[in-house]
Symmetry: C2
Subunit: 327 residues, 2 copies
Amino acid sequence: MNDVARAAKVSLKTVSRFVNGESNIDPVLADRIAEAIAELGYRRNLAAASIRPGWTSKILGLIISDLANPYYSTLARAIEEVAGSEGYMLIVASSEEDGRRHDRIVDRLMEQRVDGLIIVPPRNEGREWSKVPPPVPPMVFLDRPGGHPAADTVLADNAGGAAEATRTLYGLGARRIAFVGDSLDIYTMRERYRGYCDALSSLDLAPDAMPLSTDAHSSEQARAAVTSLLAEDAADAIFAANNRASIGALHAFRSAGRRVPLVGFDDFEAADLGDPGVSVVSQDIERMGRDAARLLLARLRGEAGGDYVTESLPTTLVLRGSEQLPT
Amino acid sequence: MNDVARAAKVSLKTVSRFVNGESNIDPVLADRIAEAIAELGYRRNLAAASIRPGWTSKILGLIISDLANPYYSTLARAIEEVAGSEGYMLIVASSEEDGRRHDRIVDRLMEQRVDGLIIVPPRNEGREWSKVPPPVPPMVFLDRPGGHPAADTVLADNAGGAAEATRTLYGLGARRIAFVGDSLDIYTMRERYRGYCDALSSLDLAPDAMPLSTDAHSSEQARAAVTSLLAEDAADAIFAANNRASIGALHAFRSAGRRVPLVGFDDFEAADLGDPGVSVVSQDIERMGRDAARLLLARLRGEAGGDYVTESLPTTLVLRGSEQLPT
DNA sequence: TTGTAAGCGTTATCAT
DNA sequence: ATGATAACGCTTACAA
């Protein structure tokens, strides 16, 4: 910038004004500056600019569990889009559900002086937020509650969606509705199980009496679980509490040569490929991401009030046929 | 940092030494400093550190077409993993295949002083690299060639994979093998078409005589294309040159109630869900990402020689049954 | 081993 | 409208 100023025979400050697009500047000088910039191939240094007091990095940090998982990459994309529209770039990092890793990323991001943070809290929690010395940048928790009082939160209505799925299966005649999912240590699983139980109870069915499988970490394990449910004739319908459970169930159906009514949680690419298509409780993932980003940007603009909100976004039941009894 | 120095009654420089983990430092002072840091909640400012000469931002920039696309998010994840293992964070941005957008992102990333760039060049090219004033950080092009002479490139062997798929279909008796894919303006499509044509020619079949559909931008369009192929009995096998084409073909098969041998390009989640499973030419996406990141990091370490490499990674043919004639 | 002074590339203040 | 000067938070000669 100094070189540009010298070449254009103006002061440093005038160049600064020029590159910042300030208005009050002599057109003649502006031209000289523009020329000097082009000639010297000058490029401003945003990192240097950002350390000035009152200036910001215009970078947001996003911590998700796994960028390769379509659910999170869809969230990331939606966030990137909203952030980009207001000039923010996004640093994305995967916590792999590991609290220590998550904490390291948080520290790094704060040292980098990101303007704000969007966080999917890891399953295995790390250090408590109260132990993180202030100042902490504005934060939004996404997909799961985060345990920091001064932060907004965007969730899906996991319990509501699960309840709707359960009621649908019941309405079509099912009375032994199996829950096939991952560990209940996971917040979303716990919520889905809660919704499932609530629905059963309100239908005068005992949740305890229903088949329950909570170790479907992979579709392979889900397949095994569903296979034995079929073999023992233990269930007349299945609520698959995540993607992998749904896919595992499909595999099990194919091997067994028969199926029972099925509703899954979370849509997936292949859900409408089979015959019948797989009915699912669908989350509006883009909207979750967008809302999280908007909430954060509103705080950064100082527009948000003193109250922190927790949004619980509705789910949609998408019926494709798998909820029906086979003909 | 000044405050910490004052509180610990040492000089600024000693604190700097401490936070940078330098060895020669009096344990007594170190303790005082550690205490002061904890008390004041001091956090170093990496942005400020990075503007010093000889220092780097330890941030890499990644430009892909769409983070929500599993192909690119898988690439991003692999890159993030390798980068993270060496202390680099990743700024990810989606170009949406738009050259102007891509150029804006490049400028922003360079102003941010990222240490290196990994770029999936957009379909609609923007400004030429020769017009970007130096210094340009080390760069790696991924998935497609990028048009900058001083950069490494990591590609998949699109032509080879397509040729293998074509030969496989031929070997099983097919003589009218349709190519269903997206526009040949796209580098990867062009390459796949080239491989397909090469294979046909070497088998004494005329590529021109084969059914060709290059407007399968969505699975819906691909479905329409395949549906008419089936109706007119124009093809006895299909090479689906991307994911969406494969899925569209499956939909068409289902509606028509019959299928012809099919091999797709690029694996997808549901490929083994149907009966038969969909055979595909599979790219090792993780490896592409890892290799790109490693190439870039090697350059940043100054280890790479003066020569720029172009890697063409082999594809794998995964046979699941759809390549066979229906029984 | 520790401290002093200078400088990295910016922008803000305040005078002109 | 423009410019001299002082910050911002940090690291690196170089001296002590």
